[in-house]
Amino acid sequence: MSDFTPNIQAFCCHYTSQQTCVEGKAGLQADGFPATVTLNRAVCTGKLQVSSLLKAFEDGADGVYVVGCPEDKCHNLMGSQRAAKRVAAIKKALAELGVEPERIEMFHLERGFHPELVAVAREMDKRIRALGPSPLKGESK
């Protein structure tokens, strides 16, 4: 397990991921952003479909998370609230399949530059390393 390198897919909205545009991958990693996390930018997390997040698991993700605006301050009013409900629906489906629901998470962050973007990435990296490879990859059977 110690040589496990997680594949974590993050889906961030345009507003919460502005830092990534300015700093670039190297700049983010210099801030402590884990290399195990791949950022996928979306115009708004409300645009993310359940099937898009499931596809990340199908494509081999060990963990998936969504970063949207604060619940009451979404640039598109309710986009991040919708995303949170979709993440919750996937948590329920993962639990039904006997998979840890914590493999997917929703975070609400302020837009722009802030250390929390790095903090949630590190939190997910730590969480997924502890959980180990996703059983949805079918490698344990």
């Binding site: 479909q49 359940v50 099937s51 499931l54 596809k55 698991f57 199908e58 489906a93 039904e96 399949l97 006997g98 998979v99 059983p135 949805l136 990859k137 079918g138 344990s140 059977k141």
Partner: protein, 222 residues
Amino acid sequence: MIVAERKPIDEIVRMTMSHDRILVLGCRGCVSVCSAGGEREVEILASLLRLGRRKEGKPVTVVEATLVRQCDREYIDGIDKWDGQYDAILSMACGVGVNFIANLRPTDMVYPAVNTSFFGGSAEQGVWSEQCAGCGNCILHLTGGLCPVARCAKSLMNGPCGGSQGGRCEIHPEVPCIWQAIHDRLERTGRKEQLLAISPIRDWSSAGHGGPRKIVRDDLTV
């Protein structure tokens, strides 16, 4: 519309485990409107099915398709185009669709992906409530358009039970007492005296208690 909801995914994975190629078949009718079995739900179920089967070490090939309806012969015949591509059909239609596939395709294995729940409407986004029981003998003209058969927990026909409190049902306090609502509506529309008429013991034979029901329209049959 007919309201349904998807079965838990683990139940679906278990019931279809013996098949290696599954046609997940949606319906653009009622289950599409109530977001249980339309194109989007087919895409989600297909993904969950692949993930669930991979977890069990038995990967599956999933074909995704959606018919205009699954309650008419001509649309069921359209399944022919996927012949040879599946071992089983996982229908996301209501129970009518599953039965139609079983009726018309005698050698196809077919499984239900949803629980068909009730006849209802969308009270608000994401919320559906039962409005009609399909009892086959409509009395809505006597009750101000509000159905005590479907919406009273006891299907009472002569006013509320003794447990109604503050206009709420004693069985489900979150639900309005429909007899209170019937009373208020008839009063509001000046027809309260209708409530004085006694409903006789009801003949439930039209409600399916005598077996499957059928309607034949001679003006339409060929």
